[in-house]
Amino acid sequence: MLNKGVIIAIALASLAAGYFVAQSSRPKTPVIDDSVIFVYPQTRSLAAVSLTDMYGQSITPADFKGDWWVLYFGFTFCPDACPMALANMKQIKTRLPENTNIKFGLISVDPQRDTPDRLKEYVTFFHPEFYAATSDAEAIDALTASVNVVYAISGDQSKDDYSVDHSNFMVLLNPEGEHAGIISSPHDPEKIAVELSKLTAS
């Protein structure tokens, strides 16, 4: 009886050992490129349009030079995607060092409703250092086209509750003021902050 028990114990131990060997020799999960920031092989220029920022100042995309920028193209009446994107931007920003040279902004594709005052109140709700600007439809068309953002007014613009369909990625500008890449959704603030830090330090 005892022998039988010992044999069973040895058999079980061998099985367990075999299992562990199999586990350790099994190839690890294949490494895939799961980066959350897509950096273009070649940077692109932004359309040289005139914008009005949230302080009522006239600017051009050249004014973005000097810092990295993460821009989101949306609108303040947006119920779902934009507040989520801006809340994510805030989460990204809080994970970056205070003296970071990465800035965050909203470009409104809805100039009919988004006045400078409204934009200012909207973005600073998420973070006091957030920035916003917009322009007329023609300039917005040119600017969005130059950064591959698409948008479309949906509904009756004579009423106040029309919606705007728009791209849901963030646009990355390098310190030369060029379109360097995009941050596609879903946005994971933790991962984005890590990758942004690496990218902007290199």
Partner: protein, 186 residues
């Protein structure tokens, strides 16, 4: 221990607060169909604990109704800047009844208009929302209304919502009396 914690979490979510129970005292996770009507618009209350698990999980038999209930998990409204008149609300709805139920409308005193919206994302990553008139939930299944997916669209907030506010919304179904559900603002 884990299931006890889960029960505590679940029971802290106020789901069926009618006029007589506007605060967070209801310990039930499900709603017996009843013709109650939501009364309070916004009330301040501690932030609701989010329950991510499927409805009914880890509930003792005597607390888990076998049929005839519609359950609402983690009802919440996205806090938006006060200049934004629109927001979105999310909840996962489990149909524990034996028949398909159809959500036909949502009303609340806090907003001019509330709609059910679905979202489409095309290959280029463009999000577009469109209104759907009704949302069918098959028997014994859960439908998630969640960020970047189908959601409850709130138009024309009458006053800004603050974090921690509770908002009662009256959910209308085709074959059920309307059900008031308390959403927490966060």
């Amino acid at each position: 221990m884990r299931s006890l914690l889960l029960i505590l979490l679940i029971s802290s979510v106020c789901i069926a607060c009618g006029p007589s129970a506007p605060d967070n005292t209801d310990t039930s996770t499900s709603i017996e169909p009843a013709s109650t009507k939501g009364s309070s618009a916004v009330s301040s209350a501690p932030e609701t604990v989010a329950v991510a698990s499927p409805a009914g999980e880890a509930l003792p038999e005597d607390e888990a109704p076998s049929s005839g209930t519609i359950e609402f998990d983690d009802p919440w409204i996205r806090m938006v800047p006060s200049v934004s008149p629109n927001s979105a609300a999310y909840v996962s709805i489990t149909n524990g009844t034996e028949d398909a139920v159809t959500l036909t409308g949502i009303n609340s005193q806090v907003a001019d208009r509330i709609e059910i919206h679905n979202v489409e994302v095309d290959a280029a990553g463009t999000m577009s929302m469109f209104k759907i008139d009704e949302l069918m939930i098959e028997p014994d299944s859960t439908t998630m209304l969640e960020p970047s997916g189908a959601h409850i669209m709130i138009y024309g907030l009458k006053e800004p919502l603050n974090e921690g506010d509770m908002v009662t919304m009256l959910m209308s179904f085709n074959n059920q009396p309307p059900i008031p559900v308390n959403f927490s603002v966060k």
